[in-house]
Structure formats: structure tokens, C-alpha cells
Symmetry: C2
Amino acid sequence: TGQGTRDHPPAQAALRDRLLSAVVSCFKRHGAAAIDTPVLELRETLTGKYGEDTKLIYELQDQGGELLALRYDLTVPFARYLAMNKVTNMKRYHVAKVYRRDNPATTRGRYREFYQCDFDIAGQFDPMIPDAECLKIVHEILSDLQLGDFLIKVNDRRILNGVFAVCGVPESKFMPACSTVDKLDKVPWEEVRNEMVGEKGLSPEAADRIGEYVQLHGGLDLIEQLLQDPKLSQNKLAKEGLGDMKLLFEYLTLFGITGKISFDLSLARGLDYYTGVIFEAVLLHQKNEHVEEPVSVGSVAGGGRYDGLVGMFDPKGRKVPCVGVSIGIERIFSILEQRLKASGEKLRTTETEVLVATPQKHLLAARLTLISELWDARIKAEMLYKKDPKLLKQLQYCEDMGIPLAAIVGEQELADGVVKLRDVATREEVRM
Amino acid sequence: TGQGTRDHPPAQAALRDRLLSAVVSCFKRHGAAAIDTPVLELRETLTGKYGEDTKLIYELQDQGGELLALRYDLTVPFARYLAMNKVTNMKRYHVAKVYRRDNPATTRGRYREFYQCDFDIAGQFDPMIPDAECLKIVHEILSDLQLGDFLIKVNDRRILNGVFAVCGVPESKFMPACSTVDKLDKVPWEEVRNEMVGEKGLSPEAADRIGEYVQLHGGLDLIEQLLQDPKLSQNKLAKEGLGDMKLLFEYLTLFGITGKISFDLSLARGLDYYTGVIFEAVLLHQKNEHVEEPVSVGSVAGGGRYDGLVGMFDPKGRKVPCVGVSIGIERIFSILEQRLKASGEKLRTTETEVLVATPQKHLLAARLTLISELWDARIKAEMLYKKDPKLLKQLQYCEDMGIPLAAIVGEQELADGVVKLRDVATREEVRM
């Protein structure tokens, strides 16, 4: 395979299947319908949507037709789909591979081809009800998968922009300031401040004022505090964002999940298209017994509101408000895989219920007849592809593959018109 | 979307899901494990495997790294996988999209991006046992899907090559002759003969002799007849092929499926890599009451034995014999879709079991609390994303989406600590 892509052998494919079906069953539990969009998109659909990352889009060779590229995520194709089909109201999920022409860092679970699992709600609704559901979904999935303790950080682009405004940042520098703030989960404030002042050209005073805000995190109390903030409460955008954040926390309280939610002003998210609530879930790593400051082991889900993206694909610019979540299945997969390895547990890669076996030679016809009846009765059955396999080999195959039962037809059984059913683990046998 | 690619809206995605899961459950019933390979393959992996069709491979732009292409089918990646991982024994299925840089004929169900569903058995086994299982699988799937009457044509490349040899065709022209014979299901013998003599440079006498053979089809009787054929029985390859074909029919008799199998000497299959048994399933179209000569409505499954392909990827040329089948899911999908349309039946696109509703205003909190409890109890539930929706709107949504139940909490229910469960279709209500 090429660099940064990989095969999934049966053990991995089985684990991935199990993981994906847990995620999909949560999406279905919330009433989402599936859609499927092509891996190939027109290049023009993708350009101008991902900011600096546009350079990571995989383009197909110009072969004298349309200029095509491989999809970069599932959000932009979804927005294109809504606009093209004039859909203004939809709850959908999509589980599929996306492509990045990145330098693969396979050890950190970063690949050029990887799965995304997205759930999105499109439509004009009352504020924060769909947004709260997206957070509930993240909470359900991370709890279901038993990945350990986690934290969902929440913020709002309007609050961030309000902070920038009241700290004296000109509007043209909101986006650059935003992508610098986004690094706060990896580097200390000092470095972020240096980048703001150096690379992004903010004044040191503005940076310091920003620093006071973005290091805040909390819950309803912090929202109330900021709503009273003499500067922030004067900013229209920030006030809207804070009002909605308060509403969101009320709904999350009714869902009983605020224990794992943190209103965190340092959360910024990289992508251009977010317009409102943004969120990101991280797994927490507790050091032994003494619960110190929890150390993040990376983001496993993220999303937010993007009310302007669909309009970019509509000829008349008609907007469809959207909010959605993407589950970072590859990182979760790595964690589950390591855990499985550590446990020594062997995952079955097939679902075969019974092996059709014979203890003597010249009984291939009996095996073929019996297995055919089993298949027709919808029973998952296998046999060895040998005319005269040894019984020991057949039972060994059951043990290797985790097949629980062997249906044995010997000369005696054939004469009596019965089958001997053997429990491979206990070696108990019944004739039937 | 680009030419020859398409979105699958929820109704199509739901039908496709149902179809794919029927196919996958048959593959699992036969003990196959899933693997996944990347959409991106190295170009060199794909070149030289598809004969004339190599020009249809989609290549990625040369961006200063490896030269990549999109996979053309699932068979070549499987063979590459076996060789790379030194796997000599495996039963696997793979359901995934493949890509062809073809002129799309979307009305005939031909797209540039489409699903393939493959099942393959790799390994050195006793003759024709895995081959017979592949045919059983085709029989099971086409029966399960209730597509109407069908016929599975079977032939063997060794028999075809034997026929060419005894008819005086030089070995260098076997492949060209083969691809011409392959057209016999679409055009009459006269045209095929003209192409053989004209384009492919066979002598008219050779073409006429071939014509006598390739118009034959039948069952065990035909196999016996050809085994007695004074010329064919002298050809080593043909004799081997006919011997194995006889064995195959014995096994298919034990499976009870010979009624739908035809040994057909006109079946050739286009791809270079087949080395033994080949087969193709076609749906038969019966004209009204009077069962005339059945008219084929196109191939819906195909496959065969390819014992040389894995060796092409092994540095030492070590061979792994393989036989496999590919289900033509796109054609079957078109048929099922048309049938669904004709029946007027509406397929549900979501699985929601219950809508949480309120009959009065100011009850959003009650709805959020109840739905959260339902989700936590693994019940598929939805609610409208409005603060104060009208009850009629909520019940209308149930009818539109096929949601069978509404859980209603009003002021009275809230005071009594109960929920009113309403059957949307019958309008019956119970308090609980």
C-alpha cells in the first residue's frame, strides 16, 4: 500500500466493525437517516472551505474532463448535498472514509485515508435544542465505549469574537487570532502570546487582555460572571453567545450531563466555517491513584454550528443553519486496539456457528449435503475444503477460529439418520 | 457531483443498506472474515491486470510522492494483500466502492463510482469444493433477494482454450478469441464470427469450428458428450477442465442447485486473470404467461478461479490458488428500486420508535428529561426541535416518518407522574 494508507486484516476489521456499529446505533437512536455521497467531488466544491488546509486536498489527474478531488471531510459534501437538493431540514449520519494529502504520522494515528463518523442536524429550529442533542450524543458514545473519564469542552465563536473585539483586535484579525488560540491545548500561554504578537501582529496589550479571558473555564457560574463583565456584556455578539451558552447549559442539566461539560474560553477549533457553538471531547488520563490535574490524551470528538456553509453552495445564497458532530473513530480505534492487545483477548473474525465434520474417509457427499441444509436454514456453517480431512484437524480448526460446535456425520450416524453435535469446548456430544 | 457519480439520499441509502446486509449476511453464513484495503493503491499494482481496460484506471495527480490510483476492483487489491502479508489460506469478503474512468451510462446503471461485494476463497484445497461453494452463494443470494428466475452459466478457461487449440487457433490468439466469444451474450454468432475472422485474424475454418462448440450448452450430459469428443478428449487442458466440470456438477447436485446451472461454452468473461472455472449469473425475463425463450436482462453476479494473480505480487512468484465471486449490487439495486417505486411502498429511512411530544406550551423541560431517559434506556426516540410545537404537528411528523408511537407528557401527566403512550396508527392511548 502507499504511504499513510493501510490494509485492515480481519482482526482489525472486526474490531472496527464493532466500534462503527456502536457509533451508528447511537446515531440511529437519535433518529438520523443515512446518506451517501461520492468520494470524488468537484475540486471547486472543496476549495476555499478549509483555510490553510486546502493544500492537503488530494486532487485527481486532469484527464480531459472535470477537475476532481477526493473528499476532505464529510461536512462540506453534506452542505453541498443540502444546497443541490434544496433540502432545508434533515437529520443525517454518514460513516465513510476521507482523504488528506498530509505527511502521515501513523504512530499517532494520523493517516492519509481514514474513517469519519458524522451526525448533523440541518434546519431552522429554536436555539440550542439540536446543539444540546449533539453534545448528548458525544456523551452517550464515549460512555458506551467505556473509554475512561472524558471532558467535553464547549465554547462559541461569537463569544471568542466578542472577546477579540473588546480586547482591541481589529475584525480582520479575528480568524488568525482564533487559530492561534486553538493551540492553547498543546502549548503554554506564553508561546501563544508570542505568536499573537509576533506572527499575527496583535499589540502586546491586546494579547494580554485576551490572555485573561481565554484561560477561563467553568460552568454556569462562569457564564453568569461573563454576562456581568462590564466590557463583554456591551458586545452584541458576545452577549448573544453567552445567552445561548446559558440556555445550552440548562438543557444539558436536564440531560444530566453537565458533570462532563466545561465551558472553556480557550477552545477555538481550526476550521473557518463555524459560526456558533463549538465543542471538542478529550479523554482524561488519571495518574495512578492520586488524581492530579487531568492530562488530555487528545481529542476524540468535535463539532459545532456552521450556519453559513450551505449558503455558499446555493446560487441564491439561501442559508440552512446546521450543527453537527464528528466522532474521531481512528483515535478511539487505536485505544481499543491497544487495550485488546494488553488484555490478550482474541476477537473472533468470523461468526461461524458450526463446522460440518466427518470422522472417516469417503464422506464428502454427506458433508456437502448436510452443510447445504444448514445454509438453507440460515445457519452459519463451514467445512474444510478437503475430501478426507482428519477429525483432529477439523476440531483444531474449530478451536483456532472459535467455532463453538461441530456437526459430525460418520458412517454410524449416516446409517442411523442422525447427526452428532459436539460442543468443542466441553467435548460433550449429543445425537440428533 | 461530478459526471457518473451520485449522492444517495436517505430512501436510496436505506434500500442499499438492506441489500448490502442481505449479501453480507450470506457471506458471513459461509464463514468469511472481513478485510478492508485502501481506496488508493500504487499505480504499479493495478497496471497490467485488466487487459484493455487499464485505460479506465483513475490516476491521482503526481504531487511529488508515490504515484497512486483509485482501485478498479476488489480482486487485485485482495491478491496484493495476500502476497504482501504472505497469507496462503483465507476466506474473506469485502464490500466497498471501486472506480472506473469510463463514460458513464447512468441509465444502464453504469457509474464511475460503484459498490462491489466480493467473496473469495484463497488456498490450496481439493478440486472444486470452494468453487462449488461460490456457486451456492450466488444461488442463495439471488434466491434470498427474490429477483425472479435466474440462470448461472458456468464454463472453464481450460475448456475454452482446449476448444481454441483443437479448432486450430494459435496459442497467441487465445486471449483475443476469448474476448470475442465473450460478446456472444449480446450479439449473434454471425457478428462474433466476423470479428474473429476480420479483426482477430482467425481463419474462417477455425471460426466455424469454434462456432460449433461455443453454441453448446447443457448439463452433465453435455460434459459426458464432450469427454467423448474425439478431438477435445485428446487435449490435455480441455480434459482437465471437463473432468473438473463433472466433479463440480456432482457437488452442485448434492447442493440441489443444478436446476439453475447451465454449462455454457459461450461464457468467456473479459478479465485476463482467470485460469479455471468461470461463471456468471443472469436474471431471466419471462414474457407474460407463455414461457418463451427466456430473455436475459443482464449479468448480476460473476466470478471464477484465478490461480496466478497472487504470484504476480510475490517477489518469488509463489502462487496462491483463489476462486471468488462478485455480486453486481448496482444492477440488483436498480431492479429493487424500480420495483419499490412500482409498488408505491415507502421505505422508512429512520428507525425511530417513539416521538416525545407535549400537548401544551412550556413543557420543553419535560420533553428533554423524558427523551434523555429514553435514550439512556437505548430506545430510539426523537422530538421536534421547537420550544412549543403544536400537538398536531408532532403527530403529523410521526405519520410522515413512520414513527409508530408518541410518548405524550402534558400538565396532567406531569402532575400524575405518568406518560401517555399513543399508537399513531390506531390512535389508542395508554397511560403508564
